[in-house]
Symmetry: C3
Subunit: 472 residues, 3 copies
């Protein structure tokens, strides 16, 4: 796989391609939304008034909006500030980190509303998709898959390529989600559907786009003091709002309540083991910001499926405990190994933050589901939690556990196969990606301000020089 | 209009004036709150217990607090972090951007509670204003008008002048709001009442305060790498929470629900066209942070009125589509034109982010209102949405549309006339504003830390120098 | 008190101690959670279904989760981003500020769930503690005490010492809280339980750890331009979300509603007097970021108790008015005095932001409670607000006021005595704290990135040098 096979010369000129992609796709959104998308019965003025009458609802507070809006806004913050600022850690790619994240999430959520709508909310009679607050949350989730993939590609691709990554990422996401949630009837599959898929999707793309001479940009592939602080903003908003991420679309009442408790505990526990391993790994016990910013989040990923289940508070803490260790070890040993042996360059280490914890979370969910009993959940609770109605009425819990595990494998398969295909598309020499010695540099795609911060000492220097000249 | 007409010498000494204004106005607040402001029936201990009995309410969740508090906190973040950090983009005026925003918003919201109370919530019997969560949201909105105006003045005025801008800004706001919402009975006039007014108010003040020699401060009128990242924090929190901004005081139930969906979609669409135009406008297709930080928000402004209406999801996307184009073109061509031809210096480009999109939003709202039908809203929904009760019972929808358009004109008029008057007040040479060569500089009003970041190279330099001296 | 009594040599080696503490304590959490912690009836799947039936509840919206979750997330942001980023103001201790805050809060909240559970939620029959959303909020509050203490110690202690501070801080907190809330039956004691305790706890520790030669690190004990902006992120999130902090666990309905209004008003008022005093104190009236970041928050602390009571809107404004003055004076005169005369080094000035305003808030609460009447609250409201049931049925309001005041004294006593004891524990020479000339420096505990920002001018300098050499 030679990086120059498709074209030896690189040019970051995107003045035609980026506007073209943005305009064409946004116009497509206008047309498709015009044809397909309508308000659902809880957001439509007439529909809600009729819904209230037909369901004998007296108070507007019963509108799903009030159950989900606070969580939605938290998820929204995670998508744009969380993912965005987490990717500002590079010393000269912060604009690209937060800016391209903004662009592709804004496109992805529109395309997600359509893709997820066609699979889950298409009215067979009217041919319309109806959307409400839960659709917006799901659209944000769907974007997350592509944003995770961006983490592996950070600094090495053009914004046009990222739009392609997102177009296919959202499409693949909607299909695997349909298989896992609808066909397999898996419960709360966030860990696998979002993180496992997104992680392996990004890794597979990055593998195909391997750059043997990336060390030409080595000087820029690192952080500076303040860029690490910006990244901490992203990391903390992700960490704090992960309970909302996992609970945003779980069942009303005890379901959302329990999901929050479990995620909160797992995340807290994960922080301590992350600090411990990070400190152990350095000669003087010094901590590494890369670990703190990333590995401390792994527990949120790993609880993506089991958090709604009766995993118990100490079960959550144990999951967090293991995740902090596994993820930090990943940053210490697996990422360098992948780069050296598998030719896989993973800028943000999504392998350790999303791929592996997501897979782990899928299997934890399978185990907790397989061991669920009526004694713990109550008869009603068991049916409600796993939605064992209709044709799934007689599914046993061990079968359910099996399907949960199978769902994880589907997510991995979609990520890997989809990622390889998309990777080859991205190798056409038309996308404006940077040359190997021009990676991790905002100069490629942004009008950068002249950095006056560094001018005062130089000026002072010049003055000294002038004086010296006068002296001599 | 000579900048030196009122006084040729400038002095940024504010040790008397700023404390005096703060103390006098805050003491006035204490007195006026003592005379006028009381808890409303949903926040008063006794009142709420009686309200529950008289309205046959059994659950505390029916308190308006639970319908509005999450949105309130989002709006609060927009006012203080959103507006505040958006204005940190200048390389050496970040303290002033976020700090003075903090000061004037904290004053403005108190004065707004009084002004809006006198116009909308004064009990004719007791002579008291009662406040609840909706009053707090409205007070935050009212501040936004003056904070928008600050955007045009950023770096060129003293904090004392900003307090004056806010005092009159809030006062004018309350009057125009009374005319537009109460007399004209316009629906959800956020776009016009807040943004159109605030935009033209700031532009008119800035026009009167024109500084012909502002290029003396040119070296500081720009960003550095990290200040642009701080500004992205503000931009993203504004962008993410705009659905809450527009829905915070709309009708319970489907009203709030639909407002969020519409705003969310318009904002997403706006991002893509902003990136497209920004890239098209530069030789190599490079993106400009000014556009990304600002133009991508224009759709939120433009949806300020229509978002509650049944504009349809694709209608929202079309509005966003147009806003991104118009606003980015504004930054590219209109702001330089205004400065050159109209002698109007608009630091943050509020013309393109607030004034024009707000006006556009007012007219979009007028069109959507004029075309509202019972078929779409249902009879009950139409009455509820436009509050067609009492003396407005028989108003036709085309009349409603006309009033919506007229409201926009009122907002422009209040902004322009009010701004010119306030501008002339601000030209008295007593306010401590900076000289033309001392603008955009925190040095004027802040104790700045010695910037040790720049010291290491200098020290190193000196050491080298010393060595050189020893050598020679 | 010689700083070198326990050991003249300092070594910041923590490669054994930090991982050991993290692992041992986290494993203890797993075991203790396994033995004690269970879901409560509103988060347990079976429990909630039974609760709904037994309480005749038809809607899931009655779950306490929906009353408290938005406030919980705000509090969570305050703990991790608010406190964390407020402590990034030092030029070279930002990693330690936000990073160690993250570590100790993540540990503290787990330990708090246990400690608070044993005192307040231990089922005597099953021997289990049941937790729900209110427990999570209380755990976050409990952490806040130790995070406040960290403010006095910032830059002078090792992360291992901070873990010890937190272990004992949470323990002491739970005991004093039990005395104040349960035995004294004090209402809404946030100001005293959290802030007064946390403030004096930190001050007492810092007093015992006095470093006579701290001026050896003087060059790093200050801010730079951008670190002050990072601190503003923390300050503003604290300021904006303080209404949620105070209202998160107050009574449903009018209680939460009123708490928000009162806190919002007090904070706004406090900003103006802070700016006024800050400006008055400098020769040219220039503002000091230290005051703006800290003193403007004092009103939130001081309203920690009275905010739920019928203090009236203007009462709240008066409290804010006084707090801004007192706290800013504290930063100007008291902190330097404490350092010089009492040998008390208080890095963040928690004396002025937490200790004194908290004490003030305790006494304000006592006065407002003592003057509460049935006329104002209604009979029902008075009982509900002060929970005058069971053995407290006949407590008069003046007695209640006395207990509120007594509670404040208990908090001070616990803070001072506990802090002195913990301080002596921290003086053992085994904790890896930095030497006097190595304080306020992230170099001690963090792998720092090579700061490329400062390299360009140096390189340029070298080039010039080279040229000069060539010239000569």
């Amino acid at each position: 796989l030679s990086a120059n096979f498709f074209g030896p010369q690189k040019n970051t000129y995107i003045r035609v391609s980026l506007p073209a992609v943005c305009f064409v796709w946004q116009i497509a959104m206008v047309v498709l939304f015009g044809v397909f998308i309508r308000y659902d019965e809880e957001s439509d003025e007439k529909g809600w008034n009729e819904f209230k009458k037909s369901h004998n609802i007296t108070s507007n507070i019963e509108n799903d909006f009030y159950f989900r809006y606070p969580s939605f806004q938290d998820v929204h913050v995670m998508i744009f500030v969380g993912f965005g600022f987490l990717m500002t850690f590079l010393k000269r790619y912060s604009f690209g980190g937060v800016g391209f994240n903004f662009l592709i999430a804004a496109f992805g959520l529109q395309w997600a509303l359509l893709m997820q709508g066609w699979f889950h909310a298409l009215d067979p009679v009217t041919g319309k998709i109806t959307i409400g607050i839960e659709s917006l949350i799901n659209a944000d989730f769907c974007c997350a898959g592509s944003l995770i993939a961006y983490g592996a590609l950070l600094g090495k691709v053009s914004p046009v390529q990222l739009m392609v990554v997102t177009l296919f990422g959202v499409t693949l996401f909607a299909v695997e989600e349909y298989i896992i949630l609808d066909l397999f009837h898996v419960n709360a599959g966030g860990a696998m559907v979002i993180h496992t898929f997104g992680g392996y999707y990004g890794l597979a793309i990055s593998w195909v786009l391997y750059r043997p001479n990336l060390n030409l940009s080595k000087r820029l592939n690192g952080s500076v003091y303040h860029s690490d602080l910006f990244a901490m903003i992203g990391a903390l908003f992700l960490w704090m709002f992960w309970p909302s991420f996992n609970s945003a679309i779980t069942n009303h009442g005890a379901g959302q309540h329990r999901t929050v408790i479990n995620t909160y505990l797992a995340l807290a526990s994960c922080v301590l083991t992350t600090f411990a391993i990070s400190s152990m790994s350095q000669k003087k016990g010094k901590l590494d910001m890369v670990h703190i910013q990333n590995a401390s989040l792994a527990a949120g990923v790993a609880m993506g499926t089991a958090a709604e289940l009766m995993i118990t508070p100490y079960g959550s803490i144990i999951v967090g405990f293991c995740c902090g260790i596994i993820s930090t070890f990943g940053y210490l040993y697996v990422t360098p190994f992948l780069e050296k042996k598998l030719k896989l360059q993973d800028t943000c280490g999504i392998h350790n933050l999303h791929a592996v914890p997501g897979m782990l979370g899928g299997f934890v969910g399978a185990i907790v589901a397989a061991t669920a009993t009526e004694e713990i959940y109550g008869k009603e609770g068991l049916i409600e939690t796993f939605d064992l109605t209709g044709k799934f009425e007689n599914r046993t819990m061990s079968t359910q556990g099996g399907y949960q595990a199978a769902g994880t494998c589907v997510a991995i398969a979609f990520g890997l196969v989809g990622g390889v295909c998309v990777g080859f598309i991205l190798r056409f020499p038309i996308w404006g990606d940077p040359a190997d010695d021009f990676c991790f540099d905002d100069e490629a795609y942004w009008e950068l301000p002249e950095d006056e911060e560094t001018i005062p000492p130089v000026l002072e220097y010049n003055n000294h020089m002038v004086n010296k000249h006068h002296d001599t």
